[in-house]
């Protein structure tokens, strides 16, 4: 089956000479959720902006639903909804009007029943006649999503949908994304939270300095990259690791009283923490404290860039 979005060797050089994208190629399948992961300035937003028509590309080719985004932009854009990273809304406008405008811009006739459905789904119906400036930050983000959904897109771009959003809204957002996927919508979201990619994406693309470093199934990437460390503090100093604990990936900790356990945290796979702690007690060691730390995205990038350099 032809991919829903096909990006071929896209380059973008800004007027000031900055190479924001250095030959990006990417296929996105129909109905999948792809998370684009990358640090700030990696080119995530630039790539999305180019696909959606907000920016122009220096060279390359992009098609959405088989339509070239330059030559056949009307057909391509009709399929696309985009939720920008910044809260770009007219402060004096009212919620329902601005959502209506979005639908109209995409050439669809007014449909108040559908707009009501979208607003209700996003818990915005009570605020339908409120001015945007009177809404909270989370509500404004919902309005942006409502605008993007108002024209029934088949492809949805979410640029940092959960940046600066509280936990509850983040969960809501994930549910909305899953519902949309169930309705057959292809979703591309950018994030720099690895947990977010882990929670909802089918595949993860890692982008850094204008290049796609890898695109992989989420599970596979997490197995490869989602390492965790547990620092085990003990009551007494340990000079060497007891024989009984040899089967664990243990190393010396930051001080004499501690050990570090390295493991991989993947859904559906036991990390072996319970048995380790049991074995520690059995070996006659007394626990004082335990703390865990996930390898941060920065660590992953350092690893990936190093791998790529080899």
């Amino acid at each position: 089956m032809a991919p829903m979005i096909s990006v071929r060797d896209v380059r973008k050089t800004f007027d000031d000479g900055l190479d924001a994208l250095k030959g990006v190629s990417l296929d996105i399948e129909k109905g999948e959720i792809l998370a684009l992961l990358g640090p700030n300035g990696a080119g995530k937003t630039t790539l999305i902006s180019i696909i959606c028509g907000i920016s122009t590309m220096t060279s390359g080719q992009i098609s959405v639903g088989g339509h070239d985004v330059v030559n056949d932009y009307r057909a391509a854009r009709r399929l696309i909804g985009v939720v920008p990273q910044e809260i770009n809304l007219e402060p004096f406008e009212r919620v329902r009007n601005t959502v209506r405008l979005s639908r109209g811009l995409f050439g669809l006739p007014r449909n108040d029943a559908f707009i009501e459905e979208v607003l209700r789904k996003l818990s915005l119906w009570d605020k339908r006649d409120a001015q945007i400036l009177a809404l909270s930050g989370g509500m404004k983000r919902r309005v942006l999503i409502a605008k993007a959904l108002s024209h029934e897109p088949r492809v949805l771009f979410l640029d940092e949908p959960t940046a600066g959003v509280d936990v509850e809204l983040r969960k809501d957002m994930w549910q909305i994304v899953r519902d949309l996927q169930a309705a057959g919508v292809t979703i591309i979201l950018t994030t720099h939270y690895i947990e977010e990619a882990e929670a909802i994406a089918d595949r993860v693309g890692v982008i850094s300095k204008g290049e796609i470093l890898l695109v992989e199934k989420t599970g596979a990437l997490m197995r490869r990259m989602g390492r965790k460390e547990m620092i085990i503090e003990l009551q007494q100093p340990v000079s060497e690791i007891p024989e009984a604990l040899a089967k664990y990936d243990l190393g010396p900790g930051p001080d004499a009283n501690s050990l570090v356990y390295r493991y991989v945290s993947v859904p559906g796979q036991r990390p072996g923490i319970t048995s380790l702690l049991t074995d520690i007690s059995a070996a006659g060691l007394v626990l004082r404290d335990v703390q865990t730390r996930q390898s941060s995205l920065e660590d992953i990038f350092v690893d990936l860039v190093r791998e790529n350099a080899v």
């Binding site: 028509g53 402060p91 639908r103 109209g104 811009l105």
Partner: protein, 253 residues
Amino acid sequence: MNWQAILAIYRFEMARTWRTIWQSIVSPVISTSLYFVVFGTAIGSRISEVEGVAYGAFIVPGLIMLSVITQSIANAGFGIYFPKFIGTIYELLSAPISFLEIVIGYVGAAATKSAMIGLIILATAYLFVPMQIQHPVWMLVFLALTCLSFSLFGFIIGIWAKNFEQLQLVPLLIVTPLVFLGGAFYSSSMLPPVWQTITLFNPVVYLISGFRWAFFGLADVSLGLSLLAILGFTGACLGVIWWIFRTGWRIKS
């Protein structure tokens, strides 16, 4: 043509007009009334008539033009500058619409609003001076063309402007002097010959002259020349906008 989109933009922009109805309509009416009091009554009482027309009536076309031109530029300039400023332009750029459709929507709404203001000022003028419009159809043609062409011009300024100061700069520094020196309050035949010649390089002279001819049947320059000037200006603005959207100048990075 994506007519739905044009209609959506037009409605959205007109909704802003209704929402800000006081600023939109009342303030030009008040300022025009002041002009009538100062120029028409206070000064006009000492100038009996210009070329057979009472001075109070003589300045009506010029006053309407002054408001219509400044309003057109301000409305269209703000209309497109604001989405750029607050970032909502992303939606216009990502929508399946051509640049022509964006222009029709925004410029159409801006021109409608200034035409409304022009007609309201005309109605206000009737309260101050008795008048008879000799060529009402031509009057409407000139009004419509002026609203259209200066809304296009305002649209260009709105795209060009990088901040609010720049948005004000062109209207303040160029347009207001051109309108004041364009014969809004006098006939160019009242000027010394040298200035009469210089005046001919002011495009606004042709507009006011044509518009005044529609009212009173007297003009500084011929009707054909007036029409040619305004059509030429409209064409030039359209050309610049076409180029802007072809290159994405100051819109797309």
